[in-house]
Amino acid sequence: MSVIEYRRMALDKLHLHGYRCKDCGVLHPSWEKYTCGECRSSNLVREDLSGKAKVTHFGAVYYPPTEFKGEEPYLLAEIVTEEGLRTSSRIVKMPLDALKVGDTVQSTIRRVKIGPEGELYYGVKFDKV
């Protein structure tokens, strides 16, 4: 990460979105914007998502990378959005036993991390509805 990368990617990180293949209709996570994994088409279009999702699995990190030291333990959940996209995300701070499989969560914007040049990244985390 660097301030150069920040300019390229920071705004994309603010809002939950995916890429839909115009040829086969499958919705992919935000990073799959080059080639459809289903039909190999390159006809992908960005689609903003509502941010509403259900928790399918979750876990907690106890040994974090350097940039996240001090936040542990923190929750990471696999979710399925109401548009049908399967992705994963941080959950906002809550007691570890407060989250359950099947819970409905909603996206919000929180600080994610500070980069090596002091650039602040904001991004999507989910909170229980």
């Binding site: 705004l11 001090g70 936040e71 929180r110």
Partner: protein, 332 residues
């Protein structure tokens, strides 16, 4: 009815609360006149809270926002805009983005500026967000009771309430709470803090035509913690029942520029149609006033009850949110 109105509003307050007695267990004395203050999480700051408040404010609005004004003295950046990033977070495009800071009056000034923009006739909707993020320095924990929170207002040419701005008074130039650039320490002089306020409020009352003129206001939302200046306010003719229902500081602490914003939101939430609300923005002996006339009372969302209830935080959690944050380089 003036042509500067409030269309909608919203607030955001972190869930966490630290009790005065918990603070006292470590420092020997508790918060200055507050029951609790609000405690944010490590991943929250002035901008994330501003975003949440604005989201609540704009939840039912569909019109284009023409300008975003962010009022705060605790932006994460000393050199970099916050309002434009906030606009990006809210997916607001092609809007003027303005940061107003420097003092706790910023929210009142932001509302006034929004009013001028609407009054000018070319803009239709201006989003004003006041957000403050707690940052006690070592030794200040029990002096100010800093808290965190945000309030957002959509100012427009039509809405639920009309805004009328009173004559501003910047006639006193004083140091009572200040910080020189390049110096980490916030300085303050309690005697000047108290005296400046007493002089300013007295000038305000005189300018209004006397204490009796203040009786018409159902609520007086003051942009600072009432407990410190309870006597001066009383003397000025502002009664406890005008202030107490709209005094967030008791539960949230000192919210800097966001105090007035949240107090105004509390007032609007509790007001009835036809009520008049006085909002007072104050700092360093300077005082600006805004009258809000409720044209159609909004549906009550129980903001006061919401503010009064939070999740209790331990001393360790408070320490992590405040000190550990700074030591780990998370910044403000």
């Amino acid at each position: 009815m003036s042509n500067v109105c409030l269309k909608s509003y919203g607030i955001y307050v972190p869930r966490g609360r630290i009790a005065s007695k918990t603070i006292a267990s470590l420092y020997g004395k508790g918060l200055p006149g507050f029951k609790t203050t609000s405690v944010s999480e490590l991943d929250e700051d002035c901008l994330t809270m501003a975003y949440e408040a604005a989201k609540n404010c704009l939840a039912k609005e569909t019109g284009k926002v023409d300008a975003v004004i962010l009022a705060t003295t605790s932006l994460p950046f000393e050199y970099k805009k916050g309002s434009s990033l906030l606009a990006q977070m809210l997916k607001i495009e092609h809007a003027w983005c303005i940061d107003i800071g420097a003092s706790f009056m910023a929210s009142a000034e932001a509302l006034w500026l929004a009013g001028q923009m609407i009054g000018g006739g070319t803009l239709e909707n201006v989003l004003v967000v006041a957000s403050e993020h707690s940052r006690p320095e070592q030794g200040e924990e029990t002096d100010f009771g800093w808290g965190s929170g945000a309030a957002a207002f959509l100012v427009s040419n039509k809405g639920i309430a009309s805004l009328n701005f009173l004559t501003p008074d910047y006639g006193i130039e004083a140091f009572d709470i200040w910080k020189l650039r390049g110096n980490a320490k916030l300085k303050y002089r309690p005697e000047m803090l108290d005296d400046n306020f007493a002089v300013a409020i007295s000038r305000f009352v005189k300018g209004m035509g006397g204490k009796d003129q203040l009786k018409k206001y159902r609520y007086a939302a003051i942009g600072l913690n009432r407990s410190r200046w309870a006597k001066a306010l009383n003397k000025a003719g502002i009664a406890a029942e005008q202030i107490d229902p709209v005094n967030c500081s008791t539960y949230l602490g000192h919210l800097g520029a966001a105090t007035l914003g949240i107090n105004l939101a509390l007032a609007i939430d509790q007001a009835a149609q036809g009520d008049l609300i006085l909002g007072i923005g104050y700092a360093h002996g300077n005082l600006v006033g805004v009258e809000i006339s409720i044209d159609s009372a909004p549906e009550r969302v129980q903001l006061l009850e919401f503010i009064q209830n939070g999740e209790e935080r331990t001393l360790a959690e408070f320490w992590q949110a405040v000190y550990d944050r700074r030591m780990r380089g998370y910044g403000n």
